[in-house]
Symmetry: D3
Subunit: 290 residues, 6 copies
């Protein structure tokens, strides 16, 4: 169960409105690596966690913090939109240059949300559950978390450069800091899963002896670049090896004759295309009882 | 530019058809962590890669391999569907138990694809570009790659248990092996980005000195579990610290008065709700030129 | 900012596992009228609320409760999946009837979530932000809330009939009760917005005098049923009137000649189709500078 | 079955083209509360209606009208786009300010539709069936309808302020009027469902006696605002009561031990994390027949 | 403007309910090639048509018919669901085989629609506007129409085999017939666009002289199959020619050095990876004013 | 299996950056008729093709080429974005007109991709698998292919007019040429399917004798335009005939009484609405065992 306090985790007050920037900030709310994603990803991972104790607690602590980050950003968006011109008669819109600048605004922040934030990314695409993962395997999931926090901090840093408003920058400096903590904690938790003996570096630690042993250490050089083998990954360390002229191991990729009742195009004799339609039709009729 | 050989990278021939399993395999084709995802993720990362040489070559080599994995799986699906009953008059459907089993089939594999694979997951949701990331920052992206291969191998292992067909299992043992290689190579490449001096552990290596230094090392204990601080992440190692009773730092999360022309509900005086409608309307009329 | 306690708002413990039912419960988690929807709808409405005080507090109170409902349902799903057969060698799967029953399971709950809940509906479609609305106009939004709680309680009642597990039913009886409270509170808040003088019955209370006065009271009978006018809505009450043979008021719905540079099909003279291609092409060449 | 007349329900002719506004109007066509939504929502409700007579007729009358509204708006969009510059050589584009203004255009209206409307919202997101509801319960659905017409009229009013073209405004004054009628009729129909004895205020009128009677009248104060209890909803009227310090009623939200064949992270003894991997693996091997 | 009659275009009455088949029929309602698609595709094409007269009339006639097809199918679905068991206590569900068969039902038809049709496909994916096209170029669009009717009739034929209910089959025989007419009419209209001189076989009839003349007649043999050149398309007819060993014409696919303020990974000297981080950072600081 | 060469199929080098145009080009990458669509459509058709030989080889040859087209366009986008201003301190952004022009940029190309291409269309909507079709019936699929190439070439031609950069235009002249070839080859392959005797003009060539013979040649005039019958499609050629006053053939479109356990609104006697609630509830209680 959750509780809420009306105070924000950190201040989110811009020095001045900036409706064009309010659109860009939507990426941090409803983008694939925005705060809705980390909120929902950590919540579902926490609820799905089968190891009671420190890992589950870390998940729930961080998930709960992230809901508050959506709150901070949604509040910031509303404040950045203050006084954004909503009518053709507004003074600012009479200046063609200003009108043009405002062409970069998110039209739905006005039309749909009445001057507030949306559960969308910076292009207006709604957030969706396909962005998140909660597999029950903590190593796989913590890797996804460390990756998500990296993308999130990267986007935050890019957005930091796109404003010079001191209030916005102050909030983003806090967000950058939190993304630093969260990267560190997931990287540390990955180490700890291994040192606790719960997981080993390859996910999952099953079938390592049974998987195809001829092909679990070779990198297939299927592009014509010649620098791939220069990487540390091909120097035998970790047992990896670069194949520079790999050959296919399987036969031709053919599909079997289709069920006649599905009316796929088919010629019974590959040498005599065109003679078999009658037979195929007859077979179809028989099969379908017509 | 690409070229294609008709031979599969590895054999994909089941011993016997299994239309119910053909639905489950769709997860590895068009799911969020299926082969379409790694194909497109590595292609876009390769095209977006600004470091010519070993990293870009590794991306393009692996991307090119993954297209062939979609091919293997699509071929396997077509073969697993061979002879699946497509009419109500088929013998198998007359047995009620068999009819019931067939209720677990993917209806679109028959109705839409005529006995073939779809660009969908195991629930029929179409693959979409929101599953992939190519940020231009290789550390952030390689973390996402290592995470994707972990989820992919995990799902493959789960699917391995759901069949006892020797042909399917042989292919999956190959897939497990490839996912092992790919996990290893991205983990190794992450190390190498750091040893090459291109990236540092926190993504991006910008603003580390400028981010909020008071809040880039504390984990906020916002759930009431008490085990979070027991993890290695709070023992001062890596400079992290657990706050057990963190307090909000910001003021109340309020939104400013809305533009009257947007007709949001608003009362000018918080102490006298109900008296201000007339004024708000008047203001709206004035603002909108009515 | 939010805080979390590990205890559930209400118990969510089934008497026995039921993996088929676990799929159906997904509708209450990630369906259009599930708990993720009301959570996010109330949060965004609360953050976007411009009337400090009782309305905003009611929004935040209820939003915070709903996060806990997602938690209850996700926990219930994990428990219902306990012991669900995940391998072909499980005893239960050897019984063909049982195998068939299990065909009704959600394949992703096993393959993707490892025996847990997903942010999806009962058909596997991911939850998305397009399900929610936070317009800033409280009357419009509270109507949407009362509607959402009605659909949610309706679906809960239908699902109640689909199980006879006492533990599941006990939880659903709690959910039914909460949906009753929430319906009541939003209906009451709608009344109060009007009695507080903040809104009037037609949303928004703007342009009521300026809208087309000839057409703001007539119901157009465009289907041939004759019972429409028998409703209370056509008896002059509320000023509504049923038009039984309404005629179109506008001219033909034509689109103007397209820009030649867009290569839409067009014939300059409607009487001489076929003679104008040359001219259109010439015009296109000129316009596009070729 | 349907029939079509080529005359529009109302005129949709702008005084002058305005390609930037043409993008904004897409919200009323393919947005979540646009005309495609009400068209499809009322059609599916009408087809799914089990009460022959006045309710069904009202649904089909209104649904049929709404198709014509999509037509009006699509026609308006095509007319607003007349002469919009489609080439870099157009005169208007040579003026940098004008070029900038045109940056606010919908690129797909030119590239995809050749100067026409799209089945998308103002951000380019395609309309989808997840926006509509037809539950078979008329009270639940009519509430959704009254809410949809409120959001629709609100968005129309906002868009009204964003243009001063007399022709567009004349059409929007008609749309405002129709949305007024439709709000009134659904509100009236809601009353009538109750006065006809078909439904009672809480949807559905089932399980009211069986739902949890301890929790169907309390509002849980889970945010720290203190104004919630000041609302009419907590004064005992309608039997509602505000809990200011509600406590969780359930036990901890734990998930059961996972099936070993799903490879979730798990430690059999919470006190001895790290010692159980061997056992879990052994169990997995046994369960999966390896 | 549209009008509606309550009589169906054709009868849609099954001899007996069949809830499993009701799910499959959803493909014809809300699938990519279902009736919602042709309805919306023809409506938007008609509204976007710039050639007044026979083409536009044909579009509007057919569009209007298709709305009635959605109606027929939605009605059929409701009738097929009559008496489908909705509670665990229903007699039919007590028989485990029958329970298993019912596992193939669409859960949302009961939980969401209360025994009616949904705007979804047979897997529960909501219909969306991305399925349709209305480009303003009639030749391009009529080709899409002929293709859509082909896919639609193919799916209908497949579904015809999946039922032996005489009532359903009677309706589907009507649908097959209508899809035959519509295929014929669009193929005929394609011919007529050319004979009317409005379009030529290559869409659009622009830039045919200016496009790259070296590469507008060669088929590139990029897969290793050797039968491609045996087709009529490579015999010089229509001027096409098969290249059996095509070589890339462009240089390497490289991306330029990124803007430092975007924090993409970059090494200024490809020969000295690892030495440039300091410089890149310095450049970033300068560029971003830090 | 696939292989990759680092050289592009054709050069993709603009003379100068143009970030606004880079957004528009996204339509050709991830739009419904962009290169991702034809890539995936031809791959899945090839893998699903049951006719070994020339048709399958043509599919795989063309599919493999199209992957290279995504590569060309993604490379072009990265080059068009070179030097696009990413910070508020960039010189160009200080000029308000330039800042306004830049409002037309794709925000995600900077924030998410760091100056690269995305798997999205020009509005930011991610590509999805619902855009493609691979039915197994080659006639149906080749029609879809000819239609897709027509739309693709049309969009390319429109985009050609929107730039005057010689390098971009040179690439687009190549793309136009390839789309010409591909239109020709699919049209030719359609002819050949028929001349080979594999398919006949109506898809599928099944049930032509069994479909409803009264309704497989009439076009229903359901709109009031009078020009429809003037088309060649109604002159008896191809056996088509225009019905100018078609009448519905079915009875009223009614839905049966719902299962009481689904709580749809229902009145048992249409003449006595309001008297049956008690009975319906009683029936529901009995049915649901309460």
């Amino acid at each position: 169960m959750f509780r809420h306090t009306k105070r924000l985790q950190f201040e989110a007050r811009p020095e001045r409105p900036d409706p064009v920037y309010a659109r860009k900030l939507q990426e941090l709310i409803g983008g694939a690596y925005g705060e809705m994603t980390v909120t929902m990803q950590y919540l579902f991972q926490g609820w799905n966690c089968r190891v009671e104790g420190k890992y589950k607690d870390l998940l729930m602590d961080t998930a709960t913090e992230e809901i508050g980050h959506v709150e901070m950003l949604a509040t910031m968006v509303a404040r950045l939109l203050e006084g954004a011109p909503s009518t053709v008669l507004a003074e600012s819109v009479k200046d063609p240059v200003m009108a043009a600048v405002l062409g970069g605004m998110d039209p739905q922040q006005a039309i749909v949300a009445g001057g507030g934030a949306l559960p969308n990314n910076s292009q207006g695409v709604p957030w969706n559950g396909g962005y998140i993962i909660a597999s029950g395997n903590l190593l796989a999931d913590f890797r996804a978390n460390a990756a998500a926090e990296a993308q999130g901090r990267l986007q935050t840093a890019r957005l930091y450069n796109m404003t010079d408003d001191p209030g916005v920058r102050e909030m983003l400096r806090f967000n950058l800091a939190r993304d630093t903590v969260h990267q560190k904690q997931w990287l540390k938790a990955i180490e700890e899963l291994e040192s606790d003996g719960l997981e080993t570096p390859i996910v999952p630690n099953a079938y390592l002896d049974e998987e195809n042993q001829d092909h679990n250490h070779t990198i297939w050089g299927l592009s014509d670049g010649t620098d791939g083998p220069k990487g540390g990954w091909s120097k035998g360390k970790d047992g990896l090896e670069y194949l520079t002229d790999p050959q296919p191991l399987g036969g031709p990729g053919t599909a079997p004759a289709p069920d006649p009742a599905l009316y796929g195009t088919y010629s019974a004799t590959q040498d005599a295309i065109g003679t078999v339609k009658g037979k195929a039709q007859a077979k179809a009729k028989k099969a379908t009882g017509k």
